[in-house]
């Protein structure tokens, strides 16, 4: 049992560390990508100076994120004159923690057998024995349901922030955030139901494992090939759920200053921003898991590659694990890049357009997709 504790402690530490790092790096990616795709240079003045030398590490402005963090930590934690103390303090955490916690059910690698990692040392190898773990912080059978449950809590954060800071702009932003997130959560849920029908499970680990096969012998059985419409709808709705342009109505700067976190300053505001950036990574990770085959390359499974035509390449377990982790994060980063590209390309919707888009366009499409999927699954006798 101690072994389980150790392994899951490592997983938790790894997940938190990676999410924080990715969130920090995404601030840089967002700045630089926006700059490069609009013919600019981008932030490049913050640097780390190696102590006692004049060597300045600029690294294409990579340290601007650190400078932002320093600034937010050192700013005055200003509070409005009248506000609800408890809700005001809790709101950033309600926005931040659920987003982080979603990652608990996302598998970032396949089976891990810690015993095989200590080839030269008998002690730890024997201690771990034949145990194997799915690389996932919380191996819950209800994986996808947990994702939606936690997504629902994030709405509470926005509502609390807007209501407790006693500001009309905040309240308007919160009301917008509430209706927008609830509408688009419905769409996300319906799009994913199609996948659940196909895979016959909500357990994310087994969803990813089923994607390591092939369709018709050569197409990788990724969700995006099984459910292309669901993939598009999911991306659109997830961008709205994340409240980023073109769906950033809750914090529309030209109308609402900063929306529901107008009255927040210093690190509390930083938590909201950080939650947004981690949310990008989470959406990318969810999309990777559901539609892009998770941690697997095409034709890859937990023991190596199996190419169409029966050609097989067996890899040692350690190599497979490292490859899976790398592939997962590469996919996540590519998806983040795509989401940021969308954010910097499209103009913002109007609010009535936003809700009409959700209820009259996306929701019917998701329902149609669901019906077609259900009929197809019934006709094919259950593909999963």
């Amino acid at each position: 049992m101690i072994q389980d504790l150790v392994v899951h402690g490592v997983f938790i530490g790894y997940a938190v560390m990676m999410l924080m790092t990715v969130g920090l790096i995404l601030t840089w990616v967002e700045r630089k990508q926006a700059a490069i795709l609009s013919d600019r240079i981008g932030a490049n003045r913050a640097y780390l100076r190696i102590p006692f030398t004049q060597v300045k590490l600029i690294w294409w402005g990579l340290f601007h994120g650190l400078a932002d963090g320093m600034k937010m930590l050192l700013k005055e934690d200003w509070k409005p004159d009248s506000y609800d103390r408890v809700a005001y303090t809790l709101a950033p955490w309600f926005a931040f923690v659920p987003v982080m916690a979603v990652f608990a059910v996302i598998p970032f690698g396949g089976e891990l057998q810690p015993g095989t990692f200590f080839g030269w040392f008998d002690g730890p190898a024997e201690w771990f024995g034949e145990r194997s773990y799915a690389m996932q912080v919380a191996p819950l059978d209800a994986g996808l349901l947990v994702v939606f449950a936690l997504g629902g809590i994030a709405v509470i954060g926005a509502m609390l922030a807007g209501w407790s800071s006693n500001n009309k702009f905040s309240l308007l932003g919160a009301v917008r955030a509430g209706s927008q997130m609830i509408s688009y959560e419905l769409v996300i849920g319906l799009t994913v139901v199609g996948l659940i029908l196909i895979y016959g499970t909500v357990n994310l680990v087994s969803i990813v494992e089923q994607q390591s096969g092939t369709l018709f012998g050569f197409i990788p059985a990724w969700g995006i090939f099984l459910q292309p419409f669901a993939a598009i709808l999911f991306l659109v709705a997830a961008q709205a759920e994340n409240q980023r342009i073109p769906f950033d109505l809750p914090e529309a700067e030209s109308e609402l200053i900063a929306g529901y976190f107008t009255e927040y300053s210093a690190m509390k505001m930083g938590l909201f921003m950080f939650a947004e950036f981690i949310h990008i990574a989470i959406i990318a990770a969810l999309f990777t898991t559901l539609f892009l085959g998770g941690y697997n390359l095409p034709y890859m499974n937990d023991s190596g590659f199996l190419f169409p035509g029966g050609f097989e390449v067996a890899l040692p377990h350690v190599l497979v694990v490292l490859l899976q982790i790398t592939v997962f994060w590469v996919k996540v980063f590519l998806m983040c890049g795509f989401l940021i590209l969308v954010r910097w390309s499209l103009p913002r919707f109007r609010y009535d357009q936003l809700l009409r888009f959700a209820w009259r366009f996306l929701l019917p499409l998701a329902l149609v997709n669901l019906v077609v999927t259900a009929i197809a699954v019934w006709a094919l006798g259950g593909m999963g």
Partner: protein
């Protein structure tokens, strides 16, 4: 796709027959069937921005500059004219000392009164015993008129195409350039005025 250009009537109430034939500078905000489907138009937009991103990334990767903006003040803007004169330099004698003899003519002629010179005495150089101990220009007030260059009898002060590195945290002394900064002129990199100057007439 777009609706045909309609002729708009101006002041239809009192002048019914006057037709406004001015050119319209905006598009009709009508979505066609294809555009109202959003998805493909969105993908077209994404392909444009993504293409620009990839093009610029390729330029950065191959050592070229993938941006229209300039590093300021490290880089001279490409659209500065060849005869732009944005910064003063003090010319030097072959041994590196300033050619200036601290006569104060430039400081006298300066309409903005930005030049401050403190003369010094150098007994080791009998040909030029008077030299500037301090020579400072306040760029927060300089109007770049070039009178100082014209007033100088010794060709000791010139203006070059660069701009001074002015983005500094404080105006004083950040925007005051002293003798050291003004003397670090690299003549080889200044095609406008070669140094030493070519002798006049056919030599």
């Amino acid at each position: 796709m777009s609706a045909p250009q309609r002729e708009r009537r101006v002041g239809a109430g009192n002048r019914p027959n006057v037709v406004d034939r001015r050119r319209k500078y905006w598009n009709e905000p009508k979505l066609g069937w294809w555009e109202s489907f959003y998805l493909f138009e969105v993908l077209r937009g994404l392909s444009i921005t993504g293409g620009v991103f990839l093009r610029n990334m390729k330029r950065w990767m191959t050592g070229k500059k993938g941006a229209l903006t300039a590093y300021y003040p490290e880089e001279i803007r490409a659209d500065y004219a060849a005869h732009n004169r944005g910064k003063h330099v003090l010319t030097q004698r072959p041994d590196g000392r300033p050619q200036c003899v601290a006569c104060n003519l430039c400081a006298t002629v300066c309409p903005a009164r930005v030049i401050e010179i403190q003369a010094g005495f150098d007994p080791d150089d009998p040909a030029h015993p008077k030299y500037p101990e301090r020579f400072e220009i306040d760029y927060s007030r300089c109007i770049f008129c070039g009178f100082c260059v014209e007033a100088c009898p010794e060709d000791a002060i010139r203006m070059v195409r660069q701009v001074p590195g002015l983005p500094v945290p404080d105006r004083h002394p950040g925007m005051w350039l002293g003798k050291e900064e003004l003397l670090n002129w690299q003549p080889a990199r200044d095609p406008a005025k070669p140094y030493p100057p070519k002798p006049k007439g056919g030599a």
